[in-house]
Symmetry: C2
Subunit: 364 residues, 2 copies
């Protein structure tokens, strides 16, 4: 697949809106929408840190604000039922609209509540974290955790618009920005050499306006991919780049008692992926070092991995939930930057060789 | 809209399967489907009366059978959560399939459970009542009652196949068949003069094989209409023929302490509709008498309506939940048999004149 993220808008009407004035962006949506009843879902953290940016909008439109407790443990049937009840008690109609302001938990849960209230009302997402923007706000995957399983119950339902702003970034811890940034880098790697080169050159993690631009580009790429493959039957798998090894690192570190953030694990997984792309698909070896020196080493901590962990890592990759082929590990790899290929079998010896190069590259 | 129900299959691939051997029909689905985990949802009544027809299938495929309590009061979040839990506990996957066998409650609830488990698994509907077949099994409206409101929570999700069989008809009370039959007559009126003439000529209510044929035709018409307008933005309104007056009769009779079945109320509403179609749209007046003498009088009891009830009936029609124009009553009417027109304003004096003719025609 070859895709130039800069040209995405000319191909289809993007749902992604970029703004530096959240209040104004929401006012514009309200002005141009025909609705009857306006609801905001947010969580306790966002209420404190981010909702102040919406003052003008709140004063003008006086929406009903539903506040859920922050945290993945509240992405539950109980919270969902409470939101349904609030909508129902306040006589929300099929023409009401809902605006989800928060991280992935809020947009996943709020999207599902909206998708199922009266068989579906329109909703808008305002992600307030980097990961939430790139990973959860577009693509239509909504849902709740249930019976001990993540996203066990849910629906495919796209937000009508997704609003990306630099304003919420100001209150995010640096570590959270860096972790979310790994998903932006991944998106650049699967979509565009130009976008990827910009990231390496500009390293936008310390400049919120530049970071917002990079987020918007990444979200539009994800949007494009998920519109072409809404139910994850093929193309969408490219979004899994770096995640087969990433998930294995993530679980290994939990098992070692030194857990790392999801995004940090993906950042390490991407290095393994670039190495395998070189050995199995002929990707230029300089891409390995460009990534290691330009992104991984400057931004992400090393992790305690050695050759003693290879058995366990291989086992974890074999049992990755996205791995549908029993007894075989398959990766998304790159034929070139912006040219991903899916379902590439990775034999054990190739994986171990790649992990050796990974350890050497990072001096582990 | 002009639509010949006999030609529906040539236009698009129908999901509706007609059979006299339910077990064989399900075996065929199982043989030709690629799945992993097979679930049946049914209710306590159906389990006793209808499930015996599935013996061969059950012995061969050994599906997990989930039995809910019968009755609208169980179309609830609690039942839904129990079904989700059963699916989750037994490790149903995205490739599992669910077969809903029952009336509208089972197909609505089971459809919603399937549409939301792991963001949607495939499901099949086997309606076991006439009304359930014509009204609920196709069209993709799934859901539960919540917070005191019918279908407050739900999703649009179509069954992969809908299986219509004469077998369950054997255990239905005659009154229930007649009531459901009104929806078949309605469907003929909006779709095809030929289909309608067949119904008047054959009166299939006493012959289960003929009734199954009529049901299948009606379900295919509904399927066609709902595929063209899945989210009820226009065309789908034609399915409301007879219901504006029908709902008013239904509520009036509840208020009088002599409730009647929904279908019986629709049968009476259809007469009012045919009268208004004559006075406002020039439908041949002989259609009024053809319906009254060929269908309404032979099959449905008269109801105690007189000119003293006109005020209340008008009030009820003004507040019908499907009436979106404040202060004005709008009907679906017929320009001819098979040619419905939607959103026709009915002034008070025309409505009262039509109710006069209605009472005269039935000798009320």
């Amino acid at each position: 697949m070859k895709m130039d993220s800069n040209k995405v808008e000319t191909i289809f009407q993007s749902r992604v809106v970029e703004t530096d004035n959240l209040s104004r962006a929401l006012e514009k949506i309200a002005e141009t929408s025909d609705f009857n009843g306006l609801y905001i879902l947010t969580d306790t953290n966002v209420l404190r840190e981010v909702i102040p940016y919406f003052d003008d909008f709140l004063n003008k439109y006086n929406p009903e604000i539903i506040v859920m407790n922050a945290g993945e443990e509240n992405k539950s049937l109980q919270t969902l039922a409470e939101i349904w009840e609030r909508l129902s008690d306040s006589e929300a109609t099929r023409r009401s609209i809902m605006i989800n302001i928060g991280g992935g938990v809020v947009t996943d849960l709020g999207g599902f509540a909206a998708a199922t209230f009266k068989r579906g009302i329109r909703f808008f997402n305002v992600p307030t974290t980097v990961l939430g923007a790139v990973d959860a706000a577009v693509g239509g995957k909504t849902g709740i955790d249930f019976n001990g399983f993540k996203n066990e119950i849910g629906a495919f339902a796209p937000a009508e618009k997704v609003i990306i702003s630099s304003q919420p970034l100001a209150s995010l811890p640096y570590s959270q920005i860096i972790s979310g940034y790994a998903e932006i880098v991944k998106t650049a790697l699967i979509s565009s050499a130009e976008f990827y080169t910009e990231l390496i050159r500009d390293c936008p993690v310390n400049d919120n306006a530049k970071l917002r631009e990079a987020m918007t580009k990444a979200v539009r790429v994800k949007e494009r991919v998920t519109e072409e493959d809404p139910k994850e039957s093929g193309l969408r798998k490219i979004l899994n780049l770096g995640h087969t090894a990433g998930h294995a690192f993530e679980t290994l570190m939990i098992e070692k008692g030194t857990p790392i953030a999801h995004g940090d694990a993906v950042a390490h997984g991407l290095l393994v992926t670039l190495i395998l792309s070189h050995t199995l698909r002929g990707l230029d070896s300089k891409e390995i070092y460009r990534y290691a020196d330009g992104i991984l080493k400057p931004l992400y901590k090393r992790i305690a991995v050695s050759c003693k962990d290879y058995d366990r890592l291989e086992q974890l990759m074999l049992h990755d939930k996205k791995n549908i082929t029993a007894g075989e590990i398959r990766f998304v790899l790159l034929d070139g930057i912006g040219s991903p290929v899916i379902n590439i079998p990775v034999p054990s010896e190739e994986l171990r060789a790649a992990l050796d190069i990974y350890c050497d590259t990072l001096g582990l």
